[in-house]
């Protein structure tokens, strides 16, 4: 949070200090809410996709308020693709582990008591995998559209675009 405090006084990039202050207070709550939606997807409404989009929107909010350096420092381009790939891979591996009991996507873990966090076997794990994947991919799409999209660059500051790598 110290990083955010420093960035808040810097008025050269991002939005006004009012927006930055409010984002500083709100961002933690959004992340907690997104994690809750992902983790409790098998008990209450929600799930991997909705929670992942909420988590990605926290990153988007940070990027909009503090500028693209802040967003890229939290989740870089490469980081986003690694997270995206590992989430997809984890989901497929969870499906393949079902072969230990018989068939693809078998719920191989013990069911547990309903209404508890640790219940429903592999469903929470699959939710987490999808949540990670969706977070990374939605944020990557936002970055692709708004930061290294060429139509954005033309009208904004007019600086020379740096290479992606």
């Amino acid at each position: 949070m110290d990083r955010l405090k420093e960035e808040m006084r810097d008025t050269s990039r991002g939005m006004t200090p009012i927006v930055k202050t409010i984002v500083r207070f709100v961002i933690g709550i959004i992340v907690i809410f997104g994690a809750y939606i992902v983790l409790y997807g098998h008990v209450t409404p929600g799930g991997g996709f909705a929670g992942g989009v909420i988590l990605a929107s926290a990153y988007v909010l940070l990027t909009l308020a503090f500028g693209k350096e802040m967003g890229l420092s939290k989740m870089s381009n490469t980081g986003a693709s690694i997270l995206d790939n590992s989430g997809a891979l984890a989901f497929v591996i969870i499906g393949l582990l079902g072969f230990t009991g018989g068939y693809f996507f078998l719920n191989f873990l013990p069911k547990g008591t309903p209404f508890r966090l640790f219940s429903a076997g592999m469903i929470p794990l699959a939710n987490v995998a999808i949540g990670v994947k969706v977070t990374a991919s939605v944020f990557a799409i936002f970055m692709a559209l708004s930061i290294f999209g060429r139509f954005i660059y033309q009208a904004s500051e007019g600086e020379e675009p740096e290479s992606e790598e």
Binding site: F91, I123, I141, I152
Partner: protein, 197 residues
């Protein structure tokens, strides 16, 4: 309750007509947002909080992305008269669609009286078979996990496509000058660019 649903749907139709007809890109984007939020209210009223949450969140994110994409472009309004051929052909196809939809919709079960052949089974045995109390999640990740795998694949492919199309440069060195031409290639261009083939 059905009256409120009908009002919301009329609101959605008006919003989408405005989104198509308005000249300003920003108001068009906001009208699309109206459609999405009304849809999420309808989902909430019909007792589908899972889809309502997803709809609201995705709608907000899409609005933010689209607004950011539109306000920074110079060309925010569309000028020029409308061509008659697309308009007339779309009218004809709309009429055809209405004709087929009339016969198709008559065969559907009535509103509020679903068939419940497969879904009734899920509702009865879902919690005891999977241990998940949220039936939607148990269908998505247990009974129909193949569908979710396909959905994840679609998302993955779309991201790869977005990255490939939207990146500013290909994987060439910085000093190399990009000499690619767009549109119809002339003979010399083909000779220059595709010599190795």
């Amino acid at each position: 309750m059905e009256i409120i649903l009908l009002l919301l749907m009329v609101f959605m139709i008006i919003g989408s007509i405005i989104a198509i007809e308005t000249k300003n890109l920003l108001s068009s984007v906001i009208s699309v947002g109206v459609v999405g939020f009304s849809l999420s209210i309808i989902f909430l009223m019909l007792g589908a909080p899972d889809i309502a949450i997803t709809q609201v969140v995705v709608e907000i994110l899409i609005l933010v992305v689209l607004i950011r994409a539109t306000i920074t472009t110079d060309n925010t309004s569309i000028e020029g008269a409308r061509d008659t051929f697309p308009f007339v052909s779309s009218l004809i196809f709309f009429g055809l669609f209405l004709m087929f939809a009339y016969f198709a919709v008559r065969e559907l079960p009535k509103f509020g009286e679903p068939l419940m052949r497969v879904s009734g089974e899920y509702l009865r045995t879902g919690t005891e078979k999977t241990g998940a109390t949220n039936i939607v999640t148990s269908v998505l990740l247990d009974f129909r996990a193949y569908d979710t795998l396909g959905e994840a694949t679609v998302l993955f492919t779309s991201i790869v496509g977005a990255f490939v199309i939207l990146r500013r440069r290909g994987r060439k060195g910085k000093t190399e000058i990009d000499q690619e031409k767009f549109g119809i290639l002339e003979d010399e261009d083909i000779k220059q660019n595709f010599e190795g083939f």
